[in-house]
Symmetry: C2
Subunit: 380 residues, 2 copies
Amino acid sequence: MANSLTALRETNRRLITETVRKSGALTQAQLARQTGLSPATVSTIVRELRDAGLVEISQAGGRRHLISPARETGLVVGVDFGHSHLRVALAERSHRVLAEEAMPFDVGARAPEGLAAAERLIVGLLGRAGVNRAEIKAVGLGLPGPIDPETGIMGSSTILPGWAGVDPAAELGRRLGVPVVVDNDANLGALAEATWGAAKGWREVAYMKIGTGVGASILINGLLYRGATGTAGELGHITIDENGRLCRCGNRGCLETLAGGQQLIDLVRPTHGQVTVSRLVELAHGGDIGCRRVIADAGRHLGVAVASLCNILNPGLVVIGGALAEAGPLLIEPIMTVVGRLAIPSAARAVNVVKGELGERAGVLGALAHVQSPNVESAL
Amino acid sequence: MANSLTALRETNRRLITETVRKSGALTQAQLARQTGLSPATVSTIVRELRDAGLVEISQAGGRRHLISPARETGLVVGVDFGHSHLRVALAERSHRVLAEEAMPFDVGARAPEGLAAAERLIVGLLGRAGVNRAEIKAVGLGLPGPIDPETGIMGSSTILPGWAGVDPAAELGRRLGVPVVVDNDANLGALAEATWGAAKGWREVAYMKIGTGVGASILINGLLYRGATGTAGELGHITIDENGRLCRCGNRGCLETLAGGQQLIDLVRPTHGQVTVSRLVELAHGGDIGCRRVIADAGRHLGVAVASLCNILNPGLVVIGGALAEAGPLLIEPIMTVVGRLAIPSAARAVNVVKGELGERAGVLGALAHVQSPNVESAL
DNA sequence: AGGTGTACGTTCAATCCCTGAACAAGGGAG
DNA sequence: CTCCCTTGTTCAGGGATTGAACGTACACCT
């Protein structure tokens, strides 16, 4: 069954749809060359796909037919909970974003309030975009905490108290009446950068999101890697200083306690008063010596973790996202310096460390990417 | 071409040969059930394979035919250079080891001498086994240092001086007149444990070889993972103590300088005189408090690295190999303790740390495994 | 402007492959 | 001994891919 002829056909159908989806618009000849199939096969499969409504065909000069992914009816919504904000986006399936909106929100609140706020924001966005609620086909949801990949339930109550034990996907799905897929914000950010941003085309990638906390995610062979039980990529809680400050994860001296945005804010409070991470970065760009210093220090701590990562995984690219990434070279140069010193030379030479291109939209765009392509994960 | 009908047939042929090879001997009906193919297909393919000499068929009561992998003609040789020994093995393709031999050898010697010694040992082994040199079809070679995956040339001259810049596979191949595949000893050890030893059936595995130095290798989805440029898994040179001792890799405080066998030997020299790692382990098992202490300390340092590994990769299994692994619980319990303290709880709960089952034969068996199945690596 | 060349998409017969059903052969239970 | 089950083989039937042939439309050169 699995290897029958019909399975082969199915494989080729999928191959063509995928190729079309990725390239946007292609002629049949191009398709044949890219997929390695013969023009004859492409011709018949394209006809099938058109009849099934999966692709659209438009004349394009000469005998050329331009094959493009069908304007899928139905819309999708992405939701991204940050530590201090809530962001939603509305998009066509073809990835075109129609509307987007954010509001400040403290994720420390309890889950029901969070989900209620998300629902209100979504409904409001739909209203302003003039979209009927029934057009929404699916929702992608990002949360800044660990999610059990089996059950979908939020774990580790110490990281996100008020959310422990709830199943956010089921809960939000119940409220909105559509399927909801959930993942943590770092995974979604990685996905977004890999789909549209700095990691496009790279296969071995690490993504680090440095906002209030530090999250991370790994792409292996171009696909999300989750490890044996779904917690791969927790670089934020790697131990940098065994005698360091207590971390909300229960251990001591985690990277997050040294390079997380919260720590940086605490460090400059005596001299600069209460600021946000973004404001801190702004001040650093403006030349503030203290802010530059705490950012550089954070970079050095991050460098230690990235160096470990390089030795273990030897990625070709490390993308830095989150609010602190906006510091750019002020953060990345110290990282590189430390990586050059601590990682084995060949791995250090191989790695590129760059700023993410999607900024604070990475999470919500990743949620859109995730809900539209379920097969983004590396096989368990 | 790639998805043509003939490719489908090729896939199914391979599926059947693989299934046969793994199970040893099967009837056609069992084959059909296991592969999901129809009995008719199995029948024709089995006939093809018999004609091609890839499987053998024997009557087995009733109408049953027992399909078994062909006693492949030709033999293979595995060679494993350790830091202080040289080991070779002779095997049938079906993995049955015919003869094996080891000799002390200092890898610090220059490459030509090392390869000459290997050649002598192989030739001697063939002689004693009564095997003609022409029967050898291929050789697998393991070396305790980094190898450029593109060129096959030994890199990082600081780790294995005397071998830098040489292409050991080509060199040994020239001497013996057969193809030689080369890889580092940690990768081969991992492969061996995954094929016959403690990691059989596991998919997300880290293997650490703690001999004179510390090497490591990672299996993702059951396949060797090499990273973007082939240096993934260099856990031995992860930085544990930034102000620690200089390491031969050029950095400071690498895991190897704290938990490598050489370090342990140095530590007990004042009190116990010059000993080998094996002797040190023996003394510890005998109750020697000093030896127990240095092993436990090494375990704690290893635990720091394994904890990082857990946070980043979330493996289901960590296999400890190399001479120091024989310390068993004396080494593994401290590792687990530290992992429990430093890794995030869900990753720490998921991981099993066990001793390798193949002992000092892991490297040479891995060389045999490697040379017999070229497709053991995760796609780049 | 006209002719020629080239690339594109479609059609069709040929070829290859998997499968279900029918069938022969043997072993085991009652 | 008979019935029943399992096993392996054969054969026709239905799918799928491909190479070759063909019609078409644009581009380019003269």
